[in-house]
């Protein structure tokens, strides 16, 4: 058994370094991603001024990039819940350095995803009509509409994820507070709510996090199910499918894990956290990603097989356009990126290295964006009455919005890593046994092939 001693001081130094020191790379990242974000704002402003016609949507393809991005980002937001909540509930020790990374992805992905229902409106300045509030017109939202369900689901999930991120963050905020002076000490002092680290407080924190983990798992499942019901509740061919609920949730967890691996790969390199985000984490997440890739393939195959076998004319038109028609290159590219390449890379231990999992994850994230697009546009392009068939091509406004929100995500995440330690310090230490003089031991057993860290 190999044991590695590491002092408390060193752990604190490593994990707090991004918060305490700012490198040039941080400024460059903020500048670049901030520029992308500003470009998106500019595109949106142009759209507000001229009208939503500056997009490529038309009749019959009334939804395209807007709803694709919406579903995509909500899908990415399922990273945090799976890792944090399910692994906490099952007591998996290897989750410790990964939880906050994942929870932060969830919160920011949700914030961005929640923007798109507003951006895609014909009259976005009236978005607040979807909020149930008493008004002099006596009007309320229509709670039968899946879009109204979206409003409640996404807001519940956003608030829940914020709470779930914030609670375990409190002790680390106190840590930064105690190492700061002046304004930073006051701000972090306020944010830490006067946390002292008494055993009663720890017990209450752990209890609250446990309850939150149990509550947030069904919320997460319900959120992406409800988003999928935006399509499944309609009667359009290849939309009106009962499989959409589980299909979308599986796809969300799939893309979420991939996004998490990508984020971890970047953080590990950029903040020199190689000793904390170890191969075992990428290995375990890579195995989860492989599982999700297989599940995604299973659902996709089920969906397409039943459509083909049923041979309903309306559905077959949409099916053909995806398999062999205008959307075939995108469709087969998606299958390549989501299954054909990642599955073997993740299945063989020799290929399931950190680099291998990161590459597979990048492909998966791209492939899943295309998957959302292919769920939406081909169905809309081929309505029941064939006289009305159409097509779709994006304009620069939609492309700018899509990329700009990626920039926004990077910006939010980068700022977050500056404000708070991206690895939960207390949670990480909790998993290490104590030595005599406060050193922590990381123990690895070659037989298990795993490290407890």
């Amino acid at each position: 058994m190999r044991a590695e001693q590491r002092t408390n001081a060193k752990i604190d130094k490593d994990l707090l370094r991004p918060v305490m020191n700012t490198g040039r790379g941080w400024y460059i990242t903020v500048a670049l991603s901030g520029a992308m974000f500003l470009a998106a704002i500019g595109a949106f402003g142009y759209q507000l001024a001229r009208g939503i016609g500056v997009w490529g949507i038309n009749r019959p393809v009334m939804w395209a990039f807007d709803v694709t991005n919406f579903v995509f980002w909500i899908g990415i937001s399922h990273a945090g819940t799976l890792i944090s909540a399910i692994l906490r509930v099952t007591g998996a020790e290897w989750r410790r350095p990964v939880t906050r990374c994942a929870e932060a992805i969830t919160v920011f992905a949700l914030m961005i995803g929640a923007m798109f229902p507003i951006i895609h409106l014909g009259r976005p300045w009236l978005f607040y009509w979807l909020v149930p509030y008493p008004n002099e017109r006596g009007l309320w939202p229509n709670f039968r509409s899946p879009l109204a369900w979206d409003f409640f689901a996404i807001n519940t999930y956003l608030l829940g994820s914020l709470v779930y991120l914030y609670l375990p963050l409190i002790p680390d905020v106190a840590l930064v507070r105690d190492r700061s002076n002046g304004l930073r000490k006051r701000l972090y002092g306020a944010l830490s709510l006067g946390w002292r680290g008494t055993q009663l407080q720890w017990a209450r924190l752990e209890k609250a996090v446990q309850v939150m983990a149990v509550v947030i798992i069904p919320v997460a499942v319900s959120v992406h199910t409800i988003v999928s019901w935006d399509f499944a509740m309609t009667i359009r061919p290849m939309w009106h499918s009962t499989i959409f609920g589980p299909y979308f949730v599986a796809g969300a967890i799939f893309s979420g894990i991939a996004a998490l691996i990508l984020a971890m790969g970047v953080i590990r390199r950029v903040f020199h956290l190689e000793e904390y985000l170890r191969p075992v984490h990428f290995n375990n997440l890579g195995l989860l990603l492989l599982t999700m890739s297989l599940i995604w393939f299973y659902f996709t195959f089920s969906e397409y097989l039943t459509v083909w076998y049923g041979n309903q004319p309306g559905e077959m038109e949409v099916f053909r356009s995806k398999i062999s028609g205008a959307y075939a290159p995108l469709f087969w590219g998606m299958v390549l990126c989501c299954f054909v390449i990642p599955a073997p890379v993740l299945a063989f231990k020799r290929l399931r290295t950190i680099r291998g999992t990161v590459i597979a994850s990048a492909l998966v994230v791209a492939g899943m964006w295309v998957e959302r697009f292919l769920i939406i546009v081909p169905t809309l392009a081929k309505p029941e009455l064939s006289f009305n068939w159409g097509s779709y091509r994006p304009t620069w406004v939609e492309v700018t919005l899509a990329f700009g929100t990626v920039g926004y995500f990077v910006l939010l995440y980068t700022v977050f890593t500056k404000l708070f330690p991206i690895i939960a310090v207390w949670e990480y230490k909790e998993g290490l046994p104590f030595g005599e003089h406060g050193e922590r031991t990381i123990v690895s057993t070659p037989e298990a092939g795993l490290e407890s860290a």
């Binding site: 609670l167 680290g197 609250a208």
Partner: protein
């Protein structure tokens, strides 16, 4: 006037030894507070059980009730027929009820936890030493008179 005596220890083992001594000297457990930068999982004897779970359930029920009233009452107020669905559509409204149940549970958990942990109130950060941030254990004893303070001081700050 109560005073807080603080002792700083380098490792949990030393802190536990001090705790045992304090107990031997008859210092009541309710006046001792152990602060650390991570949970120590010491046995908490006599500590009151948490009611966070109960509050979460209560919050969920309140959320559910609110959602039921919101959806049913407002739909009847508006009174418009959409797609031949009934004015009160239980399956559709049930989804909103589910979400607001979860939201109620979440907010109740957060509120109760902050309350039970004694956070977010003035004077929360008393009897504290920044040594906690360095990974050391701080033990504080809340003593009522000079004699008790003397005992505590001898144990907490030897030498």
């Amino acid at each position: 006037m109560t005073v807080n005596e603080l002792g700083v220890f380098d490792s949990p083992q030393e802190a536990i030894a001090a705790l045992r001594e304090l107990k031997r000297e008859g210092v009541p457990a309710s006046s001792i507070t152990v602060m650390s930068s991570e949970p120590l999982h010491l046995e908490t004897d006599g500590a009151p059980a948490s009611r966070i779970g109960g509050f979460a359930i209560a919050g969920g029920l309140i959320g559910a009730g609110f959602a039921l009233v919101l959806t049913s009452w407002t739909s009847r107020q508006v009174g418009l027929v959409t797609g031949g669905m009934p004015i009160i559509s239980p399956w559709a409204f049930g989804i909103v009820v589910f979400e607001l149940t979860a939201l109620g549970a979440i907010l109740a958990t957060l509120g109760r936890m902050i309350y039970e942990a004694g956070l977010a109130r003035p004077g929360a950060l008393i009897a504290y030493d920044r040594a906690v941030a360095d990974g050391r254990i701080v033990v504080s004893v809340n003593c009522v008179d000079d004699a008790a303070c003397e005992i505590a001081r001898n144990i907490l700050t030897p030498s």
